[in-house]
């Protein structure tokens, strides 16, 4: 779909990665934002893409090395398990 600001959906897809990562120059970024405001489908794609990344980040935050695994790791590395090292 072409819009009055001259940017098509396929152009948005082409620049989507850089847009999400904030790596576009101001002019192109402005055009993309104008496009998103007038194109409901692209708006959904951008928002769900951002949300996809955010869900993986949120999910990752809950992962820590289990204590038993840390114990085995220190044993394998022949290191002292100083209780003060890990709060």
């Amino acid at each position: 779909m072409t819009h009055q600001h001259g940017l098509e959906c396929k152009d948005l897809i082409h620049h989507l990665n850089d847009y999400i990562d904030g790596e576009l120059d101001n002019e192109l970024c402005g055009k993309i934002e104008a496009h998103i405001e007038t194109c409901p489908n692209c708006k959904v794609v951008v928002n769900t893409l951002k949300k996809t990344i955010q869900l993986y980040q949120d999910d990752g935050e809950s992962v820590t090395l289990p204590l038993e695994a840390r114990h085995r790791l220190f044993e394998a590395l022949d290191l002292d398990e100083d209780a003060d090292l890990k709060e």
Partner: protein, 201 residues
């Protein structure tokens, strides 16, 4: 997120001399992140633990060669990623990847699913079932695309750091990242669309 827990500064000189206390500190400051990357790359806790052990064993052996030009965390990510990819290559587990299907002839990835699931309440989104689905969706990516996504988006490395970790160009990293992101978005959109229809959310 790219900065690991750094409450106590690592003593690089002591590390190069293979000082055990300095190394224990390095392990504790980085093991959660390396474990998370390994778990998401390998898909099982046992394999992740193996990758973590091999990573720190190799790091210890090569401490005297660490020049400090990159961050210690980036150096460890590189060792861990190589270790995990090597294990996966040896295994060739026959998993079918979802790398096809959304790519056009000129190499662009076109979205298929247009469902707005962002409006779902947070507590409806992140359930145990969702976490399981996230894991399975990531495991369906090719290992190359999965590694790019995990390093850049989950571990928070810059494009440059993630590319260096995988020993590929920044443009190659961006291509892999785009494929991974778009493919995961497709899987998640389909999943949430089904859930919205089923639960009438």
């Amino acid at each position: 997120m790219s900065e690991l827990n750094n409450t106590e500064t690592l003593n690089l000189e002591a590390l190069r001399k293979k000082d055990k206390h300095a190394f224990a500190l390095l392990v504790d400051q980085n093991s959660d992140h390396i474990y998370r990357l390994a778990l998401r790359l390998m898909g099982s806790t046992q394999d992740a633990e193996d990758v973590v052990q091999e990573t720190f064993i190799k790091a210890y052996k090569n401490l005297d060669k660490f020049e400090g030009r990159s961050k210690v965390s980036t150096w460890l990510y590189r060792i861990a990623t190589n270790e995990a990819l090597m294990m996966l290559r040896k295994r060739k587990d026959g998993i079918t990847h979802i790398d096809e299907g959304v790519e056009t002839n000129d190499g662009e990835i076109m979205p298929i699913q247009i469902v707005d699931w962002c409006c779902l309440p947070e507590k409806e989104i992140m359930t145990d079932e969702t976490r399981q689905m996230l894991k399975e969706a990531a495991m369906q990516l090719s290992t190359a695309n999965r590694a790019a996504f995990l390093l850049r988006d989950v571990e928070g490395l810059s494009t440059q750091e993630a590319a260096a970790t995988l020993d590929i160009s920044e443009s190659a990293l961006k291509v892999r990242l785009m494929r991974a992101r778009m493919q995961l978005r497709e899987v998640l959109s389909e999943y949430f669309a089904n859930r919205m229809a089923k639960e009438d959310l």
